[in-house]
Symmetry: C3
Subunit: 251 residues, 3 copies
């Protein structure tokens, strides 16, 4: 039971995706006691899982599982392995390590639509939950997308079988995806997106507080958010529940 239970606050059913950047298993075990119940997905950011010991990666995945949290390596690692011709080795190693999801992205490489479709389907066949991502890591390349193109890419990934589609926001949240160079949300583009795709299938990467606030005020406290840092999980939960100045009594 939470403290101040007379407030009868309700916990939602939204998706919250948090980044593991290489924290220690003990740090995570301890932190999960506090905030594990608010996390749906953990992403081992970009290629970080490939520079950590196998035992450590497995140990952390087991800790997450105890809280019902599903894990996957960042899409960059998929891209790295795919581009080196190791896609099947990648899927097998993910299985062996205990990951339950796969992210299929093309943020750092060019992947033709057929290959992305194939990769999503292949990962589904291996029994993974599939999160795809739309967007480029490079500011220059990402800025070439019109919002209508992004929408087409989202739709295509859903058709291919992706369970969720992530809108790129990187760890910085600036000059990327739906954010301008100051990290502010491009609200007109967001509205066009929201009219054209099922928002409950989307996970918005929103590393910064003002971004989390904007999404919550627009879509309600049940909006799916990603690239949350461990340190901000409790803060995000207070934003969702109207317990911080920015969303006070508003959700």
């Amino acid at each position: 039971m939470n403290a101040f239970s007379f407030l009868k606050l309700k916990t939602g059913t939204e998706q919250t995706m948090v980044i593991d950047k290489g924290q220690s298993p003990e740090f995570i075990d301890n932190y999960l006691r506090v905030c594990g119940k608010y996390i749906t997905f953990i992403k081992f950011g970009w290629g970080t899982s490939a520079v950590q010991e196998r035992e450590i990666v497995s140990e952390k995945i087991k800790s997450y599982k105890k809280y019902g949290i599903k894990t996957y390596p960042g899409g960059t690692l998929f891209e790295y392995c795919f581009s080196k011709g190791f896609f099947e080795e990648y899927l097998l190693e993910c299985k062996n390590l205990g990951f339950e999801c796969i992210e299929i992205s093309d943020g750092s490489m060019d992947l033709n639509p057929k290959d992305k479709d194939y990769a999503i389907k292949m990962a589904k066949e291996y029994g993974f939950i599939v999160l795809s991502e739309v967007g480029k890591k490079s500011i220059e390349k990402d800025s070439e997308f019109e919002i209508l193109e992004r929408i087409e890419l989202v739709k295509k990934d859903i058709e291919s079988g992706a369970d969720f589609v992530i809108i790129e926001g990187r760890e910085s949240g600036k000059s990327i995806g739906l954010f301008d160079d100051k990290g502010n949300l491009k609200k007109e583009e967001l509205e066009i997106l929201a009219e054209n795709v099922p928002v409950n299938k989307i996970i918005f990467e929103a590393p910064n507080k003002n971004q989390q606030v904007d999404f919550i005020l627009r879509f309600g406290n049940g909006v799916n958010l990603g690239n949350i840092s461990f340190e901000e999980v409790i803060s995000l939960e207070t934003l969702r529940k109207g317990l911080r100045g920015d969303t006070f009594l508003k959700s």
Copy 2:
């Protein structure tokens, strides 16, 4: 005994208020071994204590007590409960959980002066140390205050019985209270404030290093500072003692 004790550095009697944003009990226990002696108050930031398990909140309060640190929930939680008609439930739950202080603020809601006076006195009657806060969470609303108005509000809270008055700085330290949009201190306003209120009754929220430096260089190493993050407690102590470039040999 500290390392390099031949320097005969002295620890002051100032107040240092640190934010607990939902860290784990173990993280805190371990960190306090290093920096517990430099902390006076811990604020469970805004509404974070209401999204954590009762046992965890109590456990952390006990850890803090071992170091003589006094704890309280952020003012936003008071405001939330007060506006929902749960003020007495709030005070009782704080007692039961082991909090020793209460923050009375109106950063996110409108509270007429009579109600603020009443709330401060009520919290005192329940036996709490009372910290009041002056300032608004919203940049627009906060910017409407003239410095002379802030001074009046500070004086009124002290008359009502507040043990300390906090000058709002938020977690960001920008465009709020005494800080401009770049987080720089408005030094003229600070001087007017300092002439009109007892500075030892004030806790300046100063989350960023340049702000801590400015307050220390102006008021000496004994100035009361708040909204310090756990990671910066040791850094702040070096600033207070002239052991970092910014205040080198100056305090």
Copy 3:
């Protein structure tokens, strides 16, 4: 063995210097299990070791030693002790605590060339590995250096016997050393530096990701980098190995 070992990623022989800002011994022990193998030097930042208990400082140094990591107190503490006439006490206390290196800097004080030469030689005589630093903590003073002056200072320190020379970047990485006020690398100055000094003797302080990326893209994954925060050690290792968008497949 790391996860995803089929990628046969190679670990380099570069120097990575990480800042200990006063974290707890337990936090560090746990973190080192994950990233200890990627760290060469730990700097107890500026004067932080002088505000921590002797036992805690010693305990952490021992933990680091288990991973072959060499430790030293920040140069600011040397400057503080030197300017107070406690240089020998300083060297002895460092020995007793278990530090294996000394940083000789003049970032916060004026130190004439003879004194810097003397200090470097003295620290060598005491059996320490010596890291010297070139640069000023103050933005105004640091900006007075022409790049050719910096080069002369680097050369002089190497002649005096410094094992490595650190180029000042502070914890912020802005308006200092080789960085402009936005934290961008001044590439022309870097080229002049690289032509005139042995780069493998230099440790570039590069606290921000874009800076780490620029150095890796210019000098390869073996470049020596410093002022890395604990939280970013794993990230840096992925940058070095081409496993993050910014250096994808490039190193």
